[in-house]
Symmetry: C2
Subunit: 330 residues, 2 copies
């Protein structure tokens, strides 16, 4: 047992390597929610689960498969990192509601209902029209509630997100986004969403992806932490955490897969542009997993108490994991 703080990053998608796992360990990161698919179908997603099993077999001293809240504490106590799986899209369940329970059994704990585009379940944030949660979407939300797979609306559109909060009988998450009032990106969230999310017991993880930051790569730590303070006023300080969206060492081909999958014959630049198509540079105060201490200090510097800062750094997500990853009581 140690008294090291709990640090949870609720979204990363790196080009995984021993080096990155060592950085997690050096940074004292107890748990990371990692993306294991964007547009992959079920069978392709299973291959991604398999690839992670190989990492776990290869580096047991650094990482292990996280399934339950207790695994976060275990990781903290052992100086390792618990890796929790999530999907950025509903592609892996295809058109088959039975796959919800299957992917939860395999360890998936978050699933976005849509990624930028319309899906079978909900609308993405780049669509012109948002008709809200679909017929299948309503049933899948109920099934996700039943088995303990958390609804994530990070890349979904306004109405679909508000409806998901309303329909879901368990709290939902926006694992990686920021308030649109601070930086009006299409991916960032309105105060209406933040308020409804907070009132329903949901959580947001603040993103450190430059396209989600005010002044992009030049965003200051103080500005980021003041944004957190304002969000705490809207949602409640126990409803906020981190979801860095760190996409470390990825080649540009990966951002192309994220944005274009197999759905487009043209090139979609997503949050980037033709002249700025690749991954943007991280702000200097958050380059990788070793920099979480900067954020913890920054939060205290803008006036959060020790306890509040510890909540944002990990304790809030831990409480959320505790009550939302287990099957519903019948």
């Amino acid at each position: 047992m140690t008294d090291a703080p709990i640090v949870i990053d609720c979204l990363q998608y790196a080009n995984w390597s021993e080096g990155i796992f060592r950085q997690m360990s050096e940074g004292g990161v107890s748990a990371v929610h990692v993306t294991i698919c964007y547009h992959e179908n079920f069978r392709e997603t299973v291959a991604n689960f398999e690839a992670w099993n190989r990492w776990f077999e290869r580096y047991p001293e650094l990482i292990f498969h996280g399934e339950w809240a207790d695994d976060v504490r275990k990781a903290r106590d052992e100086g390792r990192t618990a890796i929790f799986f999530g999907f950025q899209n509903c592609a892996p369940i295809e058109d088959d509601i039975g796959l919800v329970e299957i992917v939860h059994k395999l360890g998936a704990r978050f699933m976005q209902l849509s990624y930028n585009n319309q899906s079978l379940l909900a609308t993405g944030c780049y669509e012109a029209e948002d008709p809200g949660i679909t017929r299948m979407g309503r049933q899948v939300i109920r099934e996700m509630n039943r088995v303990g797979l958390v609804v994530d609306m990070s890349h979904s559109a306004e109405r679909s997100t508000l409806e998901a909060i309303e329909i879901s009988e368990r709290p939902i998450a926006i694992t990686h986004a920021n308030p649109a009032s601070w930086h009006p990106a299409l991916r960032n969230k309105s105060d209406d969403i933040l308020k409804a999310l907070g009132e329903s017991g949901g959580m947001i993880g603040f993103s450190l992806y430059p396209h989600h930051l005010k002044d992009s790569s030049n965003c200051t730590l103080q500005s980021f932490c003041e944004m957190a303070a304002r969000a705490a006023e809207v949602m409640g300080v126990e409803r906020i955490g981190l979801g860095s969206d760190l996409c470390q060492n990825q080649p540009d081909s990966v951002v192309e897969w994220m944005r274009n999958g197999r759905w487009s014959k043209e090139t979609d630049y997503g949050e980037g542009s033709k002249s700025n198509a690749g991954f943007p540079t991280q702000p200097e105060w958050f380059r990788d997993n070793r920099d979480f201490g900067n954020i913890a200090k920054g939060l205290r510097d803008v006036g959060f108490s020790e306890e509040e800062a510890a909540g944002i750094m990990g304790e809030n997500w831990l409480r959320f994991f505790e009550s939302n990853f287990v099957p519903a009581k019948m």
Copy 2:
């Protein structure tokens, strides 16, 4: 807690229904190893897992998904039946060794390396030649040992079976077959196999499928129990149990799928014949899950002690489950 006996049937493949689950409960059956695939590929097998999840959701008062030995005791104590999953063939792992860990995670606990025919891993009992365990087979056995998926050689050929016993670092099982010395069917096993199996800590489950019985549907309970007594002399009384191969209420189309899958354009009659192509009639002393008491009595009548009979009825399999379903200690 009750002091009801542990009854484990280590192979059934019925046309599942509430009625059959009720018979299991009435018969005091604590656990059943059910076949969830013959020739299905991975995706098709996942659909079979899904179908079982629906049964579990529908009849929680009768059945639940068994994963560990403790689930057998839990089922006995609660008057329910724990359903353990197994594959009669290696089709679900396709050509992908990473799927071994995936299917174990989903709950598979037994996998046959071959079903009647040559597979990617081993030879089936109806092939003319048996070249033994393949290159992939050796690696898959090691991976099955690592994750806790039991090698089952019920439908495999002689040399492949002896090699699997030799190569596997954990005990293997023949979940449903009888000694060939009692009834010389191609599916029944030589004394060489029984001896090697017993010495390595493996188990056999005695089949009640008429094609595996001396005098077929007219086999007497006494003859069956005397066969068990002779096998106990060859293997050790703690190495034998039941694997009834009960295929209740199945239409003949199912036996056709079992025998022909998609591999044949002709009709293979397996253990049957053109004039006797369907499922044979069960002996009158074992018609369904309510008749296990007859066997327990029959075993005592041929001279097994109370304790030995309890071992054969379930305690022996329970000990086997205890040590072989969990991942190997590294």
